[in-house]
């Protein structure tokens, strides 16, 4: 099951050229671009691991693209996303974020039913990937 999230979640995966163009836009706006990765696809997994430090004072997307390439080489089977942080007063938040890498095979989610008090059923989801420990989830 293909995980989507972030700014372009409704689109097919971006090509490198499109990623580069998006980063170019972010840098034009003066946003600091950073890269994060995770191997837990749960939608509530908000805090991903940083890949290197956020990149400040960049002028050209080539610098970020080389970092994306090195993140892909390090974590070929992980989700990698690019974030653009806007430090403008009033925003001070991530303005744009999109996935640039995903595992070759995404097993999807199981629906888990929990029988609670009084015949109530609680539902939750759990990715098949997280059945294995961190770092071994996408063999």
């Amino acid at each position: 099951m293909r995980i989507t999230q972030g700014t372009f979640s409704f689109l097919p995966d971006l090509t490198d050229e499109q990623i580069s163009a998006q980063i170019e836009y972010c840098l034009e706006q003066g946003w600091a671009v950073s890269i994060e990765h995770t191997d837990d696809p749960h939608p509530r997994n908000t805090y991903w691991d940083m890949f290197g430090q956020p990149m400040f004072d960049l002028r050209d997307a080539a610098g970020v693209m080389s970092e994306v390439a090195s993140a892909r080489a390090t974590f070929p089977d992980a989700y990698i996303k690019v974030n653009a942080f806007d430090a403008t007063r009033g925003f001070e938040t991530v303005r744009l974020s999109f996935i640039v890498n995903r595992p070759a095979h995404e097993p999807g989610f199981a629906l888990i039913r929990e029988e609670a008090a009084g015949r109530a059923i609680r539902y939750t989801i759990r990715s098949y990937a997280v059945e294995r420990p961190e770092g071994e989830r996408y063999p």
């Binding site: 290197g52 430090q53 002028r59 050209d60 997307a61 080539a62 610098g63 970020v64």
Partner: protein, 297 residues
């Protein structure tokens, strides 16, 4: 990726004309820029004709004596290459050894990479580049920075241009101990010393920028001053001239205040405020032939 600007013949001509007007002398440098501009035009024409046009390597090394304009030209090079369409953004990141080399194991690589990332799309200017390599300390981290740079200079030629600058003899030694660096730099440009006439023209240009002018007598004295100054140790070409002019301005100010007896200067005309007289230059210690001290003239 496409270049940000699309230069046409006239644009390049205009660029070279302003360069000629604003930089005195430096014939080898101007020749090299002209060649690069010509290469770009030819490459574009070749592209149109369906011939292959590989992206040329533009890494440069500027060597020369102190004060010959290495830094000035490097600062302009970014703008020039941008106008010519070689670099996408045309900004210049000026760094020295401290910005590239870390202080402990594992510190250098991230530091160097960050600088390189910042320079992408523009020009990375490394002043006094020979400091990167310190043969006397075999555990020096400079070598690591050099290796990382070499890789990027080779793999991402389209993304950034690296300019190394330094004094001739030290840079020669630097390249001898780093043959890989030497061979990856396509343009070794040597900045010649300025002739006395060129130095005078530079002085004139500096004075114009500062809105001063020389009296006729002062011009002759300045020519003499330049002749004498050139003979002295620690002569640093245009930098010495700038310093000499700064001191002449000090003496001019002192003379005006003395003559008037007041700092208000109400009696001083605009003409007086602008003019540097011969005596302002003549007072320099350079003219004092008998003096033995080696301090500032």
């Amino acid at each position: 990726m496409t270049a940000a600007t699309v230069p046409v013949g006239s644009d390049v001509q205009e660029l070279l004309a302003t360069l000629d007007a604003e930089l005195v002398g430096l014939a080898p440098v101007k020749t090299r820029i002209r060649e690069i501009a010509a290469l770009l035009l030819v490459d574009r024409l070749r592209n149109k004709a369906g011939l292959s046009a590989g992206s040329p390597s533009l890494h440069m090394s500027f060597t020369g004596n102190p004060g010959t304009g290495k830094t000035t030209v490097a600062l302009r090079m970014a703008a020039i290459l941008h106008r010519l369409g070689y670099v996408r953004k045309g900004h210049l990141v000026a760094v020295t050894r401290d910005d590239l080399v870390g202080q402990f194991i594992g510190h250098t690589a991230p530091k160097t990479k960050e600088v390189l990332k910042r320079a992408m799309g523009g020009v990375l200017f490394i002043d006094e580049a020979y400091y990167l390599y310190r043969p006397e300390n075999e555990r020096d981290y400079g070598q690591e920075a050099i290796e990382i740079m070499l890789q990027v200079m080779e793999d991402q030629r389209d993304d950034l241009v690296v300019i190394l600058a330094g004094y001739k003899d030290r840079m020669d030694r630097f390249f001898q101990s780093n043959p890989g660096m030497s061979s990856r730099i396509a343009h070794h440009v040597d900045f010649p010393d300025y002739t006395p006439d060129e130095l005078l023209a530079i002085a004139q240009l500096m004075l114009d920028q500062m809105q001063y002018r020389l009296s006729d007598e002062a011009r002759r004295t300045l020519a003499q001053y330049i002749e004498l100054r050139r003979e002295r140790p620690n002569f640093a070409n245009a930098r010495s001239i700038r310093n000499g002019l700064d001191r002449a301005r000090l003496r001019q100010a002192n003379r005006l205040v003395d003559a008037d007896g007041t700092t208000q200067g109400e009696a001083l005309t605009k003409e007086q405020l602008m003019t540097i007289e011969a005596e302002d230059i003549r007072a320099s210690r350079v003219f004092d032939q008998s003096e033995t001290a080696e301090g500032s003239p």
